[in-house]
Amino acid sequence: MSRIGVFVCHCGENIGATVDCAEVAKMAKDFPGVAFSIDYKYMCSDPGQTLIKEAIKEHNLTGVVVAACSPRMHEPTFRKVAAEAGLNPYLCEMANLREHCSWVHYKDKSTTLKAAELVRMLVEKVKLNTPLYPIKVPVTKTALVIGGGIAGIQTALDIANSGHKVIMVEKSPSIGGHMSQLSETFPTLDCSQCILTPRMVEVAQHPNITLYTYAELESLDGFIGNFKATIKLKAKSVDHSVCNGCGECSAKCPIKKIPDEFNAGLGTRPAIYVPFPQAVPNKPVIDRDNCTYFRKNGKCGLCEKICPTKAIDFSQKDEFITVDVGAVVVTTGFDIKGTDFFPEYGYGKYKDIITGLQFERLASASGPTLGEIRRPSDGKIPQNIVFISCAGSRDPAKGIDYCSKICCMYLAKHAMLYKHKVHSGKASVFYMDIRAGGKTYEEFVRRAIEEDEVNYVRGRVSRIYEKDGKLIVKGVDTLLNSYPVEIEADMVVLGTAGIANPESESLAQKLHISYDQYHFFAEAHPKLRPVETNTAGIMLAGACQFPKDIPDSVSQASGAASKVSALFSQNELTRDPLIAFVNKNTCVGCFMCQSVCPYLAIEKEKIKAKDGSVIREVAKINPGLCQGCGTCVALCRSKSIDINGYSHKQVYAEVMSLFNERSLEYV
């Protein structure tokens, strides 16, 4: 006979304000099988947990329903509580009174009744719960880091330095990411490459790190501790084991006019190229889309002829390797909107309207102008620059509701750098608000305004057009009662919105992780689990989760690395046993279930007679591979497959407990 305990949480006002928790607890007392029922202000607090533990012991409870927040929030907490009171943790279920009831309905009798029905549904379920025991699985102590920007570099180094193996995959020919493109960094104005490149070299030379550049994740199977990653190594067309990086090939390559990604399109590069001088590895790849040899069927081949080490290999093919990893850290970074996104700013047709990233390249000593600020159209030094923040960001009309977080700071830095380089020049920044939260950030912006005399105008720019070789910037100054402002600029820099990488959606699908409406990867909890995803064993760091600056990326990277190290500190880990299993007696062995299993977890098992002859074949589910989706359960005609935690009996009881004639009086 079931003895279920019901514990109704007020969650302070969160539930208590709309649901009459005491009434729910009172009604629950009358549900069949309920032996004890009580409400309390905060069930998850220490006294709340003690209350549950004592009730389990005192009333000899065989199951527990905690009616509180979402099980996605506190199920582990309360299962632990149950376990501490000597009850099997899987005999504890949660009714979601907060997210699915009190927060989404108004205070009303119907809301309280709904809460009571949700409790009864879970009471009916928990009566049929069975004790379950976690599955132990071994851990492969190798981490896969996807993306070689600063976040990936930091993660890889931290994990590698704690003694574990790391495999780093970078899609471009060199690691370094966006940070390698930056000129100087706020708020200290230290040179980005000077602080980054030593770390890049460290990654390349670290004995625990295997680096695959010009490579992409093809697929990921498995689960925490036991992933199998297939990595596509794109054909470099250069044998890096032979190449000595002399650079002759790049110098001689007849194709020279390819827009240079590293210079954000401001410069050009050859078809065989090293992205930038400090690249790691500092060896070239052939961009097959632009190489004459590949485009015109073997014509050219100049690089092959002149290569002193005979490293050019046109016959290379994309290669696929499969590696075993125990954890994955996604550090694929972000992208920015281009100038062509803005009709009001000329749809990208004005050469002298550039993005912040392009300005970084102009200001960088390794950039196309060797650090001189010269405008793209005619190479003249602009005497009047306008910077526009929130270009796209915080603009629901453009579909980007959020603040991109980094633009205020880098535009202040740009204005400052410009004033340092062009002393006679004038710089104006149009802004909505100056968001300079961060250590010494506000001081940095004040310095730009006060010491470097950057003209900050609070207002939006409605339009930019060209007139007599000047860019006419029309805006308003809202601090001067929306007084119209018109500036004749030589160059305009847009602080365009930081956006998710175009490949982020397909990557999320390969990894089976969630992403938000803007396609940034979703963390498991916005506050308490910011570096984990909802898929166990996959972490996030850097701007792939949301635009963020270097210090934030690095701290998140170290956070992700410590999560991985904690995971790797154990030899075995436990997994929820919520997996499917087969009833051998009724399985008829049609094996239609085999092809619905995404994990190939269903095997054939021979049932043998005493003499060893095979009587029949039945399905068998490998508990190490099954992830518990239950697709086979719903497919099996004879219901010979069932699944822990969502068994036929349990879900049936849940469904039948609702609305039937024994249903509560419905308002």
């Binding site: 979402s70 996605r72 009831c101 989404v104 309905h105 969630s514 609702l658």
Partner: protein, 155 residues
């Protein structure tokens, strides 16, 4: 009919729609109280028999919702479910069962607002259609013909 409060049951997957409904909660999006959510690991787990059982249990409407195509936490459960619903819906429609009462949807973990809209829409729609008495009556039709109104009550 104005005081009719439909009973709606929702079969949702844990990873997308359940999380989306959680998000609706955290975003304090208000929607009709008529909905009861049953949590499943994946839409692939949702047995078509449970939909019939929900009608038997007295549901006036059913929502089945999971991850968008390609977003399934388990890779493909939603694709298998989608095929199952194509077949099931056609069959129910052929039998004259009111398929307007079953709503299939994809609601992702980021679509709290969509979930709120969906619930409200379904509730409004079912309010217009009215209670699903036809199916409930089946439990009262015994051997013999209904055309004579000869309902044998067997309880």
């Amino acid at each position: 009919m104005s005081d009719f409060e439909p009973k709606i049951i929702a079969f949702v997957c844990n990873w997308c729609t359940y999380a989306g409904a959680d998000l609706a909660g955290t975003s304090r999006i208000k929607y009709a109280h008529n909905i009861r959510i049953v949590r499943f690991p994946c839409t692939g787990r949702i047995d078509f028999m449970l939909l019939l059982k929900a009608f038997q249990s007295g549901a006036d409407g059913i929502i089945v919702s999971g991850c968008h195509p390609a977003d399934c936490h388990y890779t493909a459960g939603n694709y298998h479910a989608r095929r199952r619903w194509i077949v099931f819906q056609n069959l129910l429609n052929f039998l004259g069962i009111d398929t307007r009462r079953i709503t299939f949807s994809w609601v992702s973990a980021a679509e709290g607002a969509k979930w709120g809209h969906l619930v409200n829409e379904v509730v409004d729609n079912i309010k217009k259609i009215g209670p699903y008495t036809e199916y409930a009556k089946l439990g009262k039709i015994g051997i013999g013909s209904i055309s004579e109104g000869n309902y044998a009550r067997i309880e």
